[in-house]
Symmetry: C2
Subunit: 394 residues, 2 copies
């Protein structure tokens, strides 16, 4: 059993109408002037942005706004946000949106608080941030877990590189407002893509090659069952409050560190393989993960068939005898069946990508940082392994 | 489904040899001079205190020591600690021990940081603390969950009143060092008493009378199963690292707020009934809880037999048909069977108390704050109800 650290300082305010507390929360944090950062027009159209502004005005908190964050958020928008915040004397960043918006805030926060270097260096991992502007989040998409996490992912348009930041507690939001009703109007594809992302944050920590803690395993397994059960409900009942709430809280718990206690960081190969897809083709993150996972799992499961068999038995109630290989494969198949049941892709073709050998070669080349790194934990994957997995997923 | 807040800012450092990091951690917190607060001589004899001191000296952190905290920690010791800290200019409190020592630190921290009132008022709940000295913990007993919690319990020798403080995030420890090996030498009775306390922190939040979150329920149920399974192992293998680790982490998770998400605070009647026993007769807290729980459960289960049946099915795998009452009672019996299997009492006689009608009347009178309050959530209990439960448990 491995040693671990657990640190989740984000204050979570969960439930109906909680977004109306945002002004008070910012005031409590000593905020003078906040950037309201958001994505497309849905936050405007739904009236959410107006409610947020009214709450801030009531609390006497000054603000500026910057919208236009896109999925797979861009470095150029981060730089735009940094410039605006510096010009306006902003001392707090409020993300109104999902993971893309929160991640854009985190990058802006790093950029402003570390003027001694360029912000992209924290994503190249050549520098370590020493500070970050404080961040709060009003979550509108359950998926990324970024509202409690210590990391963020940004895409640099120069080369279309999608890269995760150095992990640091500095960027964990001070508070996260989780009102499940704010996710009611999310299109089905985004909702289910979010559910896959939540599952993957749990699975990436779960599939390891050494002895784990049974309490962490059990929490992870029960979390996955909750997501699978409620993701199916949301296919027909997108306004089911309880299902939205279960998914939303699962999203935060899956990525705040709880599901990684004793698993020494986990694996994360699937996320890294997907980042190249997201960077080059701008696919929905969760859908990209779904398209790759089965191929990754079949490529690596023989490193620890017992672990995959445990997953099959405890998440999908597949009877497990002594034939771990058979049970393991049945579990992989069951997860792919789930993906299909919520209309998520299980290969790159279903994701809408028709990739040539050359493109796959390029994806693997980029994912391996030009053949200089391996990824993964349960099995270390080099450039050739990556290429094989992309090919299997084609 | 109820709204909730979740806030667990304590940094947990978990695993082998982690206590050797204490000096570095205090230094990171900006500590100049710390009070090392501890209980009996076991921390001295085992060499733990010397290791802590060496770590502090290496880190350049000055310290004073104060031992002698007893189970059901006393207000007089709190006042002694306050005086010492003020005299010595202490700016940080380090608990080396279990819940009693941590709670004593929390009370000292409140006392020093709020000189405008008497510290006992925070336990009478007539005043609200505005600040608290920062606290760290090196845990040596898995039980109370105080290492991550927002509350503490102190016994006032004047009247032998055992009272919980107002709940406040101010007293949550800044860090908690959890090294399961430090619990190896704990006597069996204390170990198992701790396991009961952990179960009770989960159950007190679980048994409520309204719709809950399934993710919280599942986490609570899996946590209880982990404790029950490993508590039994520790009966014969007190130096089983994995079992000690599972119990220790379950102890923190059971009381840091995670198991109460969406259960609106829970019930806590059992804890309050036990506090009177602990105040008057100085019994081990967990053993006192075990002695009362079955009687409490049988007194209240008809308010929500379906909930007790869910508990029976999901924690003890008892088949649940449509007869919720029968399943509920089987679940209560199963928990008492578990208590017996780890040599915990299931009534007050087995706890070593032979109480007269007059004493039981007095217990209920004190627990009801002289007939002025009710306790409990699944069923509100007045003085007469409390008296009946004590009588059932006799």
């Amino acid at each position: 059993m491995r040693n671990f650290e657990y640190y989740t300082p984000t204050r979570v305010i969960f439930g109906k109408d909680t977004h109306l507390q945002v002004g008070t929360l910012l005031k409590e944090q000593g905020c003078q002037k906040v950037l309201i950062h958001y994505g497309g027009n849905s936050a405007v159209r739904s009236g959410l942005l107006d409610e947020i502004k009214a709450s801030l005005t009531d609390a006497g908190v000054d603000f500026v706004t910057l919208g236009g964050v896109v999925p797979n958020p861009r470095l150029s928008k981060v730089r735009e946000g940094m410039e605006l915040c510096q010009k306006e004397g902003v001392d707090f960043l409020l993300a109104v949106g999902g993971g893309s918006v929160i991640d854009s805030c985190k990058a802006i926060g790093y950029g402003i608080a570390n003027p001694w270097t360029d912000v992209w260096n924290f994503f190249l991992k050549t520098e370590t941030p020493k500070d970050c502007l404080p961040i709060g989040a009003v979550l509108t998409i359950a998926a990324s877990g970024s509202e409690m996490s210590n990391s963020c992912v940004i895409t640099n348009e120069d080369g279309w590189l999608k890269r995760g930041s150095i992990k640091s507690d500095l960027c964990r939001p001070k508070f996260a407002i989780l009102n499940p009703k704010l996710t009611y109007t999310l299109p089905q594809y985004q909702t289910e893509s979010g559910c896959v992302d939540i599952l993957m944050h749990t699975m990436e920590r779960y599939f390891v090659n050494f002895e784990t803690m049974e309490i962490t395993d059990s929490i992870s397994e029960t979390l996955m069952q909750t997501v699978i059960y409620n993701a199916r409900i949301l296919m027909t009942e997108p306004r089911n409050y309880n299902a939205r709430a279960e998914i939303m809280w699962a999203g935060s718990l899956s990525h705040n560190g709880l599901t990684g206690c004793g698993t020494a960081g986990g694996d994360w190969a699937c996320h890294q393989l997907e980042h190249e897809l997201g960077g080059m083709f701008d696919v929905a993150h969760g859908a990209g993960l779904a398209a790759l996972w089965g191929s990754w799992a079949r490529y690596v499961y023989q490193e620890n068939p017992e672990r995959f068999a445990q997953f099959a038995a405890n998440v999908f109630d597949i009877p497990c005898g002594t034939d771990y290989e058979k049970t393991a494969l049945a579990g992989i198949e069951a997860m792919e069946d789930f993906f299909r049941s919520v209309e998520m892709p299980t290969n790159l073709g279903e994701l809408g990508l028709n990739l040539s050998d050359e493109v796959i070669h390029e994806l693997a080349f980029k994912c391996s940082f030009e053949d200089t790194r391996t990824i993964g934990g349960i099995r270390q994957l080099n450039r050739k392994d990556m290429e094989k997995i992309y090919l299997m997923a084609r």
